[in-house]
């Protein structure tokens, strides 16, 4: 137990330099690179005096090192300043959108696991058979299909041709968000107020985006599960289980899969980056009002504080999730210690 606590503390401390580096990169990309936020914000034709005044206001004419220190202090206080375009706190804007992104990625991940893990386990069980090759081919092909194109094709098939699923947004026209909105997680909110009609509508809107995101990531999980299952199936305890006369199916899909799951769990941590990138594209394709769509909207508006804030939040999420996954890994597998 003492060991475990030490591991958790060390791992948490290691997150700090990583975060600092990511924050510095964001600062460099947004502030130091060519392109002047103020003049592009004011339309490029503003008189110099106006530009100077605005720069003064935003503190952009101070030495970079001072700006950098300020920026780090702001982040420590979780204060991302105010949008340059709209009079809205950046954190409020992000807070409005973040539940939509989390909801989408959560259901996407469920689809990924539901498709990827069983298929990967089945492929490993039937190694070098036609089914194995078919599943692996599916894994390669689905990995190469850009998530935005898959989304568009699904929209066309299920939304336009068959007209059975909604293709945009989180709710339909007959559902009023204000009647249930509380946490921003619509599936949870609708259940809390027991509005099952709205719940069905919210779930229906989730189908295409989360299937799109989930399917694209499933290829990676098929590969991971298959590779880990192959290792597990070779081990002695599997042979022992078979020898004791436990049914083959039970050995593979219960004993083996549970043991293969630990490495899959860590890989899940590494896939968070891919999940986030996929979410940005899925949101843009399905007009899903989440963080990714907010980022793109603000990029077109050249709203630098908001852009910076969103990227910082993404960095925080990635660092946090990988920390959590590592801790869970240490809890599950007692061999993992520093």
């Amino acid at each position: 137990m003492k060991n475990l606590i030490r591991y958790v503390v060390t791992r948490a401390l290691l997150t700090i330099p990583m975060l600092l580096i990511l924050l510095t990169i964001v600062f460099v990309v947004v502030r130091v690179m060519p392109g002047d936020p103020v003049s592009s914000m004011l339309g490029g034709h503003a008189p110099q005096s106006v530009i100077d005044q605005k720069k003064e206001e935003l503190g952009l004419n101070r030495p970079l090192i001072v700006q950098y220190g300020d920026y780090l202090m702001q982040i420590c206080r979780l204060d991302f300043g105010e949008s340059m375009i709209l009079h809205q706190k950046v954190l409020d804007a992000i807070g409005d959108k973040i539940p939509a992104t989390i909801e989408l990625t959560f259901f996407g991940m469920i689809i990924t696991l539901l498709v990827g893990v069983p298929l990967g386990a089945y492929a490993a069980d039937k190694r070098r058979s036609a089914q194995d090759y078919a599943i692996r081919l599916y894994g390669i092909v689905i990995y190469c299909i850009p998530v935005y194109w898959l989304g568009l094709m699904l929209q066309m098939i299920f939304g336009v041709w068959m007209d059975i699923l909604p293709v945009a947004g989180r709710t339909g026209a007959r559902v009023f968000v204000s009647t249930f909105e509380k946490t921003g997680f619509y599936t949870l909110d609708t259940l809390l107020v027991r509005d099952f009609e709205a719940f069905a509508d919210v779930m229906l809107h989730l189908v295409l985006p989360s299937v799109t995101l989930g399917l694209v990531l499933s290829g990676i999980f098929i590969r991971l599960t298959r590779a880990n299952m192959l290792d597990v199936l070779k081990s002695d305890y599997i042979l022992a289980a078979e020898a004791r006369g436990i049914r083959h199916r039970r050995v593979v899909y219960k004993h083996a899969i549970l043991n293969a799951f630990v490495p899959i769990l860590t890989m899940m941590g590494l896939q968070v980056a891919l999940l986030m990138a996929g979410a940005v594209l899925t949101e843009s394709t399905f007009s899903w009002p989440g963080m990714g769509r907010l980022l793109l909207e603000r990029i077109y508006l050249r709203d630098y504080p908001t852009i910076q804030g969103i990227i910082v939040i993404f960095a925080l999420i990635v660092a946090f999730v990988s920390l959590i996954v590592d801790i869970i890994y240490a809890l599950v597998d007692p061999r993992v210690r520093y």
Partner: protein, 294 residues
């Protein structure tokens, strides 16, 4: 035996043909990938001869016409021929993806070699930086770069290249760390070879082989990132012919059912990415059967 790139290539080709029968399915994955890439590269090179119309010609026929004998893949809302735009668009995506992969591999490999060989504080801090960037969503980093730079082919190449530097760095650094402990490196050091010579003549040739597979897969990935950026409206000015931008434009006509405007550009992006991924998979299996764990 003295190392030279040509003899290594010869050996590689000999081994590949020899192992072809042995590897079965993996071999065919490699061949199919190579054929897809070759076909699209030929299409890009011969674009002026293959394309029935100019990709910018706004009077090739009726507006938003479905595929027909005159327009194999239909026309778009500006009366441009979709097939011609696909043929010309291959130049942009191939050029950007390959250039970006070359740029990031050059930087990543050089940094990885030097960092792994010198070690010490610089190596530790550089590794930490690279690991941090590696863990961050590549697409979002590329979006940030593309949004800050003026749209253009060079900007998008840089935006795509930046996110792959850590991949090469980590791979090469790890290899360098183990190779520098080898006996032949110690021997070279003992006879007084300077660091530069050891690095480029002894370590580099042994590292480069493993990066080939990563490079191929990297190009496949870069294709999807390039198309993602242009699909989002970032990175390229509208005058450039590009699959991702055509896809974004086609998206507007999806509700009215003009399926050919999204099916073909998106299908080509997938096909090209698939070609490079399959080639990489096949190469990985044949060059190093343990790399992908069966």
């Amino acid at each position: 035996m003295k190392y030279s790139p040509t003899s290594a290539m010869g050996q590689l080709i000999g081994r590949m043909t020899g192992m072809g029968r042995k590897y079965g399915v993996e071999w065919w994955i490699l061949v199919i990938g190579a054929v897809i890439i070759a076909a699209i590269i030929i299409m890009a090179l011969l674009a002026p001869w293959l394309a029935p119309y100019s990709p910018h010609d706004q009077a090739t026929g009726p507006q938003l016409a479905p595929p027909s004998g005159r327009h194999w893949l239909g026309t778009d809302n500006l009366q441009r021929d979709v097939l011609s735009r696909i043929i010309y668009g291959s130049r942009t995506i191939l050029g950007v993806a390959i250039l970006a992969a070359l740029l990031s591999s050059t930087i990543g490999i050089t940094m990885g070699l030097i960092s792994g060989y010198t070690g010490g504080f610089m190596d530790k801090s550089l590794s930490l930086v690279m690991d941090s960037v590696y863990s961050f969503p590549g697409l979002i980093l590329a979006i940030a770069f593309a949004a800050m730079l003026e749209p253009g082919v060079i900007s998008i190449t840089i935006a795509v290249a930046v996110i792959y530097i850590p991949t090469y760095f980590r791979l090469v650094r790890g290899q360098t760390l183990s190779i520098k402990e080898e006996l032949y490196v110690e021997a070279a050091r003992a006879i007084g070879a300077p660091g530069k010579v050891i690095l480029w003549k002894y370590i580099f040739p042994n590292v480069i082989a493993t990066t080939v597979v990563v490079f191929t897969m990297n190009v496949g990935d870069a294709i999807m990132i390039e198309a993602a950026l242009t699909y989002l409206g970032l990175g390229l000015p509208p005058s450039v012919v590009d699959w991702g931008m055509d896809l974004a434009m086609g998206k507007k006509f999806l509700p009215s059912g003009q399926w050919w405007l999204i099916t073909f550009p998106g299908g080509m992006i997938s096909l090209l990415a698939l070609g490079f991924t399959m080639l990489g998979e096949g190469l990985a299996e044949i060059l190093n059967p343990r790399l992908l764990e069966r």
